[in-house]
Every structure is written in structure tokens, then in C-alpha cells.
Amino acid sequence: MPTNGYDDRKNRSNLGSHLKQETSVVGRPLMKVDAMSKVTGQAIYADDIHLPRMAYARLLPSTQPHARIVRVETSKAEALPGVLAVITGRDLPIKYGILPVSQDETALAVDKVRFVGEPVAAVAAVDEETAERALELIEVEYDPLKPIMSIEEALEDTEVRIQEYGHGGNIHKMVSLQFGDVEAGFAEADYVREDLFFYQGNNHLAMEEHSAVAHYSPDGKLTLWSATQTPHYVHRALAKVLELPPSRIRVIACHPGGGFGGKSDPFHHEICAAKLAMLTGRPVKITLTREEVFYAHRGRHPVLMWVKTGVKKTGEITAMHFRSMLDGGAYGSYGVATTYYTGALQTVTYKIPRYKFEGLRVFTNKPPCGPKRGHGTPQPRFALEVHLDKICEEMGWDPAEWRQQQACEPFSLTANHLRITTIGLKECIEKVVAASGFREKFRKLPYGRGVGLACSAYLSGANLPIYWNDMPHSGAMVKVDRGGGVTVYCGSTDIGQGSNSVLAYVVAEVLGVRPQDVAVVTADTDLTPVDLGSYSSRVTVMTGNAAIEAAQNVRELLFQAAADELGTTSDQLDAAGGRIFRRDDPGVGLPFAKVAQLAEARFGTLAAVGSFTPPKTPGRYKGAGVGPSPSYSYTACVVEVDVDPETGWVRVPTVWIAHDIGRALNPILVEGQAEGSVYMGLGEALMEEQVFRRNLHKIPSMLDYKSPTFLETPDIETILVETNDPHGPFGAKEAGQGPLLPVPPALCNAIYDAVGVRIDELPVTPDKILKALERKAKGQDPRVGPTRMPHVEWVEPIYVEPPDLRHDPSLMPATKPT
């Protein structure tokens, strides 16, 4: 049970001189602003929307993994009473995709299907039942092509191509980057080790199935309500595919019932709903079935990895070489970014002076993979932390101590030119080791029990947008009403992490009102300035900073008006508790609403804007766009396991996790992110897998896709470490993704501690444990995992000279955002 001593957090004054000395909102474990709506069933999710005359649509899935479409015959479906419209690929031929470099999707398959479940046609009807019956009346004639179902097959078969673009054959993207003379590094190492790992793909399994409702108003405006994390990108995609001016499209993200990255692409069903609404003149709803969610996918990429590291006896890493091969499924999605991400963040935890990364992504005839919590980094982090554990084991180093020694310096650059600001990694390791009793347990527990440690880093938002441009990543407006109410408008999407509450908190803190006084308007492309979306753990940092700037701009006006009334100057004022008052004499002040009235009389309508654009990225090479962030969060994790050598069953009684959050704007929300990450990390590590059998998804249902219940989920002890990041809103960094990363490797390291076997392939199912124990018993290498990487002609790497890795005070930001 966490005992965070919330009462002590209420007013804190030890967090850096550029922040308010005392906060009255930030740092408190407040109820979320929409919490009561959610617990009373009043929060509106997309499928809860019911509009008058709403029609229902369904999608016809491809039955073929890979085939040319010879003919789609819809006339029987069209003739069915109650059917309002039927569309096929020909009606929506324009290609789209989340990344500008991979505009390879169509809303409905045009000439070819590329995976079982890919939508081929869509029907709108007066009810769902009629729409489903209509689907059965659509005849599709396929000319089958050879299916390609694995990384190996994709690399082998260069004749049968799934897509017509990319690196060649079925390689979608190949990357090769080298920072410094890696071979020299290996040469000067005392020990060089190579390992192979595989991380299976898995689905987000958000509880809510994707859903969208479209309405084309007779006044010529399309509105789409959708369970999306990225309304801005959906807005763009709709404009492109439907050939409508963006000004005529409004996208509203409803509360998504879970996202985890799975609702970050523009989706078939969103575009089809919009098109059908335009054709029928009626609102159209599409809600995917759970089976269709597995086809929509965009989940974790299966990744095959090879890593080679050289170390000196004294502990320093001399060089690292990392290779990854991603199974991308049939379309691009975020895959190019994912590929880079599998190589980008190795360098931001421990000092790696020379680094080489080679990565590729292949197309296969499976649902497209995309971004899932951690986006391309849990896989290499798994590989890296197990690999390093093996090195520590080999070298006889204490894995906690070694990690602390090798941790990156604050305000330093990495070999691949990523700028680290604050880093609480050492403190995280120290605290998690202490809390878990790691030193007392490691290599000391009875057979079958063990502990494992792993660490990780994650970005607090990507410094570069998906579409390269110089515009802010997040914009906010703050309006103050003469009655004392405040409204904050921001394009961000609260996917459950509490970003709407964060907006209320930071605005309330700056203006000295209560969060309840702040109306939060988000995720509506008509009403709110653009925010790029809820991905890459960017929201708190970026929207928080944008909202703070907007609130400060309004506060400026309020303070000027109050200063005159109170006979002082703006800089002598402070705001808290619904009052604006003299800092030197807090009894002298005015109610917030009164100041609002004075200020409105003087300045007119009280509203202001704020924006956040991440700092410029130091890296100047191709590929330098993936990895940079305003700040990195750090996590250390200890997992304790109880392995039954008879059954191979792994029970996890407790996980300890320490997370460098920069600053917890609301500790109970941060804990929730850490706990959810630990849970999801364990799910991926122990049971979750999206796998295929005879070209088909291995039964795409929740019954067969195993995920942890209450009974499989351990006690989780969360420790928050605060480093007060200068780029963060009130010092905050991310929490939503980073804490997932160390969980799978810590688990595997704990299994090794418990029973002495290495499972280098996730998930760690009982059969793999048993197989490894069997090998161990036979005196063979007590390991289960991949044994080779397919041969590939890697392209010549781009060579980049690494910078000096040491702490450099000049990297500290001169101007503080807060």
C-alpha cells in the first residue's frame, strides 16, 4: 500500500526558485475534474452518442490475407430494405496514413487486400442488424496472392510484394546510424557480449471498442465524434480523403475508453462513417466489434533484436551496437517512427560513448502494427536491460550499483545528440532498491523465488511533430468571465490519464482559483487551438506549458488592474484561494471576480493565448527527429517472482517502481499511470500476444487474448522522485509510458534470479520456462530465445560524431518556461 504522505505535499517550497514558492493546487492529490461524471456513468463515450435519425454502419472484412480484388458486387446489398448506402474502395480512393512518408492506406481496399479483416466495403442502414445482413449480400471475388506472415518470410520473398513502396522487397524502412567509432570501442573493451531477443506483438485491448459518429449538417459542415487520441490528425485525414476544406470539418474526440496508442491513427471506420453521413444525409455510427479491433490493431510491433556491448573492467561501456527487425503488418502506420524508436533511447539511461543502430521494418499480411504505450522502446529496453544484466552477472557487478555508476549526467548530451535535462535515475534506483529490499534478496532467495531490477528512460513528448513545421505543438486559450469563471480551451484529448484535470490544475494555480472554477474545453477542432494529440507522453508537458503561458498572459492583465486598485504594482501581487493579494501583506487583496471585472473594464474581453513549441533539437543528421524531447523521465523497477519449476507458472507478488516524474502535478494521478504501466508491462511480459495461425489471427477475442485480471496483478508500490525539470510545467515530466518499460526486463531478470534460466523472448509463457529448465537440466544453455537474425544487406550507416557526454551547465535552459 503506498503511503505517500499526501498531507505533507500540500504546500511545498523546496522546488526551485523559478516556481511559485507555495502552490495551492499543484502537487495535491485532487479528484479529477471529471471523476464524478465517470463514476456515475455520465461521461460520454463515442458509442454513447445517439442522434435523431442516426443510421448504423458495418464494414465488410476481407477473408483473404493477400489477394487481388477482382470484383465487388453490391447491388443485392443495396436492394435490401433498410439499407441506405453501400460504398467500396472506389468511393474513397485517396490514400492517407498518419505519417507523411507512408500514405499507404485507403478507407476501403481498392485493388488488393493485405490482411484478413481489412475492410472491403461499408454499409449504412437503419439499424445494425440490417447493415450486417447487407454485408452478407456483398459478393467479393478475390485472386489470392501468397501470404507473407513473418519477418523471415518477408525478407526471403522479394518477388511477392505487399506494398509497392519502401526500401525494396517487403522491407518498408531500413535505418543505419553510427555515432563514433564503434569498432574501436569494442576493441578497447575488456568484455564484449552479444545477445538476441524477441518481443512478441500484442494489442492495446482498450476496454472500449473503437467507435465514431459522423454527421454532415445540411449547412455543409461535417462533424465527427470519435474515440480518438488524435483529433487533429483525424481532421487532416478527413479533409484529404473526403476532399473537403478543413474549415468545413469538425472533429470532436469523445472520452476514449482507453487508448494506449491504439486510437492514434486515422481509421477506416472514421472515414467511412463520414462518407456515409455525407451520402445519406443522416448521422452514421460505426462501432467496431472486438474482432474488428484486433484487425484495426496498430499494436506493439513484434521485434527481433540483436545487441552487442563492450565494457571495461571498471564498468564503463565502450560501445554498443543494436539491431532491430520489426514486423510491421500490412501498412505503414507510425512504423517508420517506431523503427527509429527501437534505436533511439538506448543512450539516455547509461553513458554510451559510441553507438551504432541498424533497424528495419518489414511488411507482412497481418493487421498493421503501430504505437502502443512506449512506442518502439519497450522492446529494445527489454533487450538492453536483460543484456546488461547478463553482463553484470558475467562481470560480477551489482546490477543496481553498476547502473547507478553508469547513469547519464544531468544536462548532458548523448552520443546520438539527445539533450538530457534532469535525470533522477540514481535516486530512483536507490529508492526502489531500498523499498524492495533488493540487496537483501538478490541471489539470496530460495530456489523458485527471485528479484530482478531494470531501469528505463522515456520522452516527455517528441520534439518534432509528425508533419514537419515550425508551428506550436500545443496551443491554449484562457478566458476569464466577469463572474469569476475561467475557461481553458486546448486541443488535447484526455484518454483517462487526467490531462483535462492537469489543464484545470495549472490554470487554477496560475490564476489562484480552484480547479472547479475552470471549465475545460478540449479535443474539438472547432473550439480549441490545435494540440497534436495524446501520444508520445507529450500532453502534460506541452499543453501544461501552453496553458500556463495563456493563464500568465491573462494574469498579467488581472494583476495590472488589481495593482491599481490596491495601490501597488503587479510584481508585488500573488493569486491564491480565489483572491489576488499583496504578497507582502496577504490580507490586502480583492476577490478574483472583482479583479476580473476591473480588468475587463480596463482591457476589454479577458482572454489570452499560450503555445508550446519544444526546444530546438541539437542533432543535425537524418533520423535525428526521433528521440529528442524537452525532458526524459526515468524509472527503476524491481520485480519479485515466484516461479513454479513444475508448471513453469510465474506469479508476481510485488512490483516496486520508482519514477522520476520531474514534479507530480497530482501524485495520485501519477501513481495511477505508474500502476497501469506496471500492469500492462506484466501483461506483455507474461501472457499477451497477437499471434497468427494458418494466416489467421489466432481467434481474435478477449476469451483467447489473455490479459491480467485482478488475480494476476501484483501489489504495486510506487515511489515518486521529483527532479523539477526546467522544461516542465511546474517542473513536471511524463508518467504515462516510461514506467512500463523496465517491467518486462526486470521480470526476466527476476526469473533468472529465481530459477537460473534466461527467457529472451516475450511473453514468458510457462512452456518457455519449462523448456529452459529442461535445457538447464540437460546442461545445455539454460535459455529460450531467438538464435539468429536473418541475413540482411544493411545500408551504409550515416556517420555522426558524438558530442562530449559530460554534464554541461550550458545546456541548462536560460529562460524558464514557468
Partner: protein, 179 residues
């Protein structure tokens, strides 16, 4: 084929004329507008559609309305009384036991059934009782805490609940359930 079904939901009688194969979940959401109850899988595997029938949690996606005619159906909309939320609702809100909130209505119904038969469950009893309800956001930790906090509070004064909400919104005072 349609049939007339009379359902008593949250104490109110509703008579609807619906296709015979329409599930209770669909009728609640589409015909009665009670969209608080969610659907997550169509196959009774996720627990999001849980409602109470005569006090017992059932999966509304596997239930035909005709089976529960004349019985007492409670959905998340019926948990509050006269605008005063149930202690479970307050505790869930306060302890951040609802992140995306999608599993929450079902979770609350299972939790209510538990508390109604076991007013002070141990953590493992909570886990056991709610094991049929999946949550992908919270890691379950705060849900267990919230159920136990509500159990403790349920003994107390219901009217104080509104004050708790106010406090949790503005002060963030969280009582530790474990103590």
C-alpha cells in the same frame, strides 16, 4: 420478431417493444438511453456490461430482457440516490480508481454486490469478487483501495458524501483505506 418487455430499472418501470434477440445491454443503452452501462466484447468476457439483477451481478450482454422481466435491475445510473452518489462512486472518484472510466460502471456494480454481502472485504476478497471485470488503465490497485475505502465509509453518514466530493475536488484529502 419483436416482443413487449416490461423492465424495472432503477426503480422505474419501462415497457419496450424490442426484437426478441436484442440483449439487455442493447435495450438499456439504446431503448432506455441508459448509456452508463458499457459494452466491451460482446461475449461476456470483460465485465464492462455488468448490472445487478435482484442484487446479483450479471453480464447484460449475455442476458435477454425477457429473462429479467419483473426483476429488480440496477445500473450505474441507479447507484446514486436523489443526486447523492454511492460511497463506492465517491471513493472511486477520489482515489483515481477510474482512469478512462470505461470499465468503471461494471466494476462499481460488481463492487456493490460484494459490499452488499460482505460489508468489510479483505483485499483478496475484493480481487476475487471483481476478477471478472477487466480494467486496462489502473493496474487494479486503486480499485481495490477504493472498494475498501467505500466499505469503511458506508458505515457512516451518507449525507457526508457530498462534502467528501467537495473536499476531494478542492483539497485533495485522501484517507488511507489501509490504516
Amino acid at each position: 420478431m419483436k416482443q413487449l418487455v416490461a423492465l424495472r430499472v432503477n426503480g422505474e418501470l419501462h415497457e419496450v417493444y424490442v426484437p426478441v434477440h436484442k440483449t439487455l445491454l442493447e435495450v438499456l443503452r439504446e431503448d432506455l438511453g441508459l448509456t452508463g452501462t458499457k459494452h466491451g466484447c460482446e461475449l461476456g468476457e470483460c465485465g464492462t456490461c455488468t448490472v445487478l439483477v435482484d442484487g446479483e451481478p450479471i453480464l447484460s450482454c449475455l442476458t435477454l430482457p425477457v429473462e429479467v422481466q419483473g426483476r429488480d435491475i440496477i445500473t450505474v445510473e441507479g447507484l446514486a440516490t436523489q443526486g447523492v452518489p454511492h460511497p463506492l462512486q465517491v471513493a472511486f472518484a477520489e482515489l483515481n480508481a477510474a482512469q478512462c472510466g470505461y470499465c468503471t460502471p461494471g466494476m462499481l456494480m460488481s463492487a456493490k454486490a460484494l459490499l452488499d454481502r460482505n460489508p468489510d472485504p479483505a483485499p483478496d476478497e475484493v480481487r476475487e469478487a471483481l476478477a471478472g471485470n477487466l480494467c486496462r488503465c489502473t493496474g487494479y490497485v486503486k480499485i481495490v483501495d477504493a472498494v475498501r475505502l467505500a466499505a469503511r465509509r458506508q458505515q457512516g453518514d451518507l449525507g457526508a458524501v457530498v462534502e467528501e466530493i467537495e473536499r476531494a475536488l478542492n483539497e485533495g484529502v485522501v484517507r488511507e483505506p489501509g490504516s
